[in-house]
Structure formats: C-alpha cells, structure tokens
C-alpha cells in the first residue's frame, strides 16, 4: 500500500502529528542537552520512563501516563542526588540500573499483548490512542512554551554559568526547570522511537546542527529541522515497509544526517571566520609589544 493511501487514514494522520510534535520538542531541547553534557541524563530518564511505562501498563493499561510519572520522578531524583556532572552521572547510572530491573519485573507480571513490551522499548506511535495523543499535544505545548520563554537565559546559564549568575540569571532554578522539560520531552519521544532510542531525537539532530553552525538561533532551527525530517521521514518510510518498525528508519535517518553534518561540517562552520589560527592579533589597543 502506498503512502498516499495511509495519509488518508486518521490513525496515520495522528501518528504524523504526534511524531512532528515530538520531533519539534526534542530538536528544541537537543542543543541544551549537548551543551550541558546531559546525554546520559536523557538516556537515564528514558530508561526510567520504561519502568514507569511498564508500571502504567500493568496497573492502568496506560503506558504513557506511567512513562510521564516515571520520568518526572527521575528528574526529581537527578536534581536531588547529583548537582555536579560527575556525581550526577554516577547517580543516574545507579538509578537507571535499578529501575530497569524493576521494569523487567513488572513486565513479567503483564499478561496483555506480547508486543506491549517491545512497543515501550522501541516505540509504536500507531499504538497511541486519541486520549494519549492529547497528552502528547499538551506535553509538547508546555515544552515549547517553557523553552520559548526561558531560551535565552537558559542558554546563558548553560554556556557561561558563572557570569550568568553574576548577571542575575537564576542558574540553579533554570537547571531544575530544564530537567522537568527534559523529562516531558523524553516521555513524548519514547512514544515515537521507544525508550531505548530517545537519544536519536534528543541528541543526534542537535549534535549534527552544532557541526554546521555556531550561531545559537541557526543551531536551534537546524536541530528542530533534522529531528522533524528524521521522525516524519522514518514514519513515512515505515508505511512503505510495514514489517520494519518506524524507529529503525528514524534512527537511521537521524544518524545519516549526523554523518553528513560531520563530513561537511568543518567546511560550513569555518566559512564565517577569518584565518586567525593561533597567531597574535595586532590591534590599536595592543600593549607596547604586540607579538
């Protein structure tokens, strides 16, 4: 069956809408995840979203709500256990391993559809119900609103925390806000690509964008664009090859863009500079002995 046929179907339209929304939020937070060195935090949050989803599935047959609660709990744990990055990463590792174990235990008790477990791990956007879709829309709207409001001070705090604090930016508070936004985004992304593959939307597009530009606005735009191309492209491709999960295509497209960006990046990113290298700059204000 062709893509054209699928695009007539409400379930496919819903899936595309959800994927686009998730991609926009993931692409939006991606540059901050990279800048703040939080790749492992994203992965940890996603793994624990798995535990939450398994619990949600078992208790209320609602993996989305479970994943949401799970990732919010993790965000709170990360915030309390690890302030510094090294401490944070080891705390996340400890929580992640334990949480995954609990998740597997919970799934062992689940007597529903056998595919439910793999859907949590590897995503199945077509399995998302209308009400869950609504949850995703609300999550997406919250993430976009928060990021749109705090983008500039959050970037300042991420890049240059010392001066940001001196300039009156609530650096620690914004860090907590970002953890919450991250938890929400991860919950959404897990529905599309699965908890195991969240990084393909939350990191890879931003990493690719950073190879191409150092302009914060352009990096944000490219990161969102790449995430949307990967998510929607992967979904459309899965209409054609229905025996392959959409997440396979999404991760592949995402990685392809990343490779391409790495390849052409050096040429594109450097084109705006002059050839200053490491030489000394003579300047009108230079000291008495300018090199």
């Amino acid at each position: 069956m062709s893509i054209g046929f699928f695009l007539q179907q409400p379930f496919a339209q819903h899936a595309l809408l959800a994927a686009t929304l998730v991609a926009i939020t993931s692409g939006l937070i991606g540059p901050f995840v990279v800048t703040r060195g939080m790749a492992f935090a994203v992965h940890g949050t996603a793994e624990l979203a798995f535990t939450g989803a398994a619990a949600g599935l078992l208790i209320a047959n609602n993996p989305v709500a479970g994943a949401l609660i799970g990732s919010l709990v993790v965000a709170a744990l990360i915030a309390t256990l690890g302030a510094r990055q090294r401490e944070r990463d080891s705390a996340i590792g400890a929580i992640l391993a334990f949480g995954m174990g609990i998740g597997i235990l919970l799934l062992g008790y689940y007597r529903g559809f056998a595919t439910a477990a793999t859907n949590i791990l590897f995503g199945n956007i077509f399995g998302v119900s209308g009400s869950q879709l609504l949850v995703l829309v609300v999550i997406g709207a919250v993430v976009v609103a928060v990021m749109g409001t705090w983008y500039r001070p959050l970037l300042f705090a991420s890049v240059d925390p010392e001066v940001a604090a001196a300039r009156g930016v609530p650096v620690r508070g914004l860090g907590l806000v970002f953890l919450l936004v991250l938890a929400l985004t991860v919950t959404g992304a897990a529905q599309v690509v699965g908890t195991l593959l969240v990084l393909s939307l939350a990191i890879t597009p931003a990493a690719a964008a950073q190879r191409l530009s150092a302009n914060p606005r352009r990096v944000a735009a490219l990161s969102i664009l790449f995430a949307v191309i990967a998510a929607d492209g992967g979904l459309l491709a899965s209409f054609e090859a229905s025996n392959v999960k959409a997440s396979v295509f999404i991760t592949s497209i995402s990685f392809g863009i990343y490779l391409l960006a790495r390849l052409v990046g050096p040429a594109v990113r450097e084109q705006h500079h002059h050839d200053h290298g490491h030489d000394h700059h003579p300047s009108p204000t230079a000291g008495p002995h300018p090199g």
């Binding site: 540059p31 990279v34 001070p153 230079a286």
Partner: protein, 285 residues
Amino acid sequence: MSDGAAVTLRGATLRFGHHAVWENLDLDVTPGECLAILGPNGSGKTTLLQVLLGLLPLTAGAVSIDGHPPRRGSPAVGYVPQQHAFDRDLPVRGRDLVQFGLDGHRRGLPRTRSRQVDAAVAAVGATAYAGAPIGQLSGGEQQRLRIAQALVGEPRLLLCDEPLLSLDPSSQQEVVSLINQYRQTRGATVVFVTHELNPVVRVVDRVLYVASGRWAAGSTEDVMTTETLSALYGAHIDVIRVHDRLVVVGGEGPGGIGTHHFDAEPADARLDHDHHHPHGGPHRR
C-alpha cells in the same frame, strides 16, 4: 557610610562555619579608583567579589555599592571572570557571549544582531573574530570578548576576578589597557582580584591585601612592604624590588629567590615560566 563612595565596606566579616575568611574589613573605594585585591589562594579574594556581586551575604558588617546594598545582576556592575576553556564545538560565537552581557538575563529567544554589541566588540578590537565559535578562540581573544561582555552594559563598577590568569604577557597587557581605557574615559571604578600584582601595578591606585583572615589597604608602596606583609602572614616575608617589579618571597617554600616568586603571593610559588620575560618572549599557549 561615607558619601559618594563607589564601594563601601564597614566591619565586613565573612565566616564559613567557625573559619573566618576575613574580619572587620573597612574600605571605601572612590569612584574612578582602581583597586587591586591581592592575597594567596583561599584568602577570600573571590568571595569578596561574590559579596560585591550580591551572590553571597556578609556574616556581619555592611557593604554598599553606590550607597545601596549589592544586588544580583545590577546593570551598574560589570563582571570579568577568569579565562577558562570553552568546548570547541560549543554553539556560541564570540559576539553571542558579548550579547549575553547585554540581555542574556532577559526572557525570550536569543538575539543575534545589535549595534551596541557591534560597538562593544569593536572597542576591544575583536571585530575580526567575533563571528567565530568561542571555543576556537585563543585565551587572549576570549578575554577581550569577556571585557566587551562586561562593558557592553556600560557599568559604573567593573569587577574582575583573575582576568589575566593563563594569559601570555602581551595579552595580559592588552587586557589591562582595555580595562584602564574604559575606566579613564567613563570614570568607572575597577576592582581587580589578582595574585599577580605586576601586570596591573601601573594602573592600580590602591591595594587591598588579604591573608590569614587579616587585611591591609593602602597604596602599593605602603602595603607591599616586608613589614606589612610579614605582619599579615605572621611570618617573615621579603618584598624585593627587581627593576620595576615587585617580588614577594616567603620564608619557607620551594624555589629559588628571584626565579619564580614574582607573584604578589609568598610561599609555595606557582611555577609560571613564561612570565619572566615581561617584554614579549615566547607566548605560546
């Protein structure tokens, strides 16, 4: 509080638990003055700046800036931090760093073009490389942009925390010149936290030396003496003049006299080889 002082400290005391960082500090910095805060590592120089930035409250005593208590993010105060390495692929350009100094604390999306930023970048002679990723610039280039970042909001008080650290001597001189130029044209007050007095000695009006919880303030000639520093440290300290440079030598500690002890900091000397050649010399980073 005396009228018209840019910075006033009265009985200012800071303790962490039972440890007194400094006690009963009294100081008036007059508008347009350049003050160097000196002392060994851990003597509370940076914490004093944090107090002035409104990031840390005093344990006792009073502090005011332009007659008001310090306030976080006050537009009247500019801040230049230590040079530190940025990631090479950080998605931020030099000019974005300067832009942050203007509006980084405001909500919304980042702005990318502004005439004020262009002017601030030009004023420090960084126009040629302001569009390059910040992580790919040299330490000296980054510090110039730092100064543009601190000055773009046209502060009346500029606080600098070891702005010369890890810079080669000619970059140090450029940074000092830029800051002094701003001070002179705007009548701004400048406070340098540093443990190397020599690079700033020609622009400094007064010195505040903190050590072992004690302090001394006055002109360079008054404070940087064998008697004053020995009294501060409670141990014999030699202050020697070699040509136009001050050399502070602690009683104990490794290293030979006059080889490494050019810092305004006695005892265990930092071994900083390049800096013995004040006039150029090799400045590889």
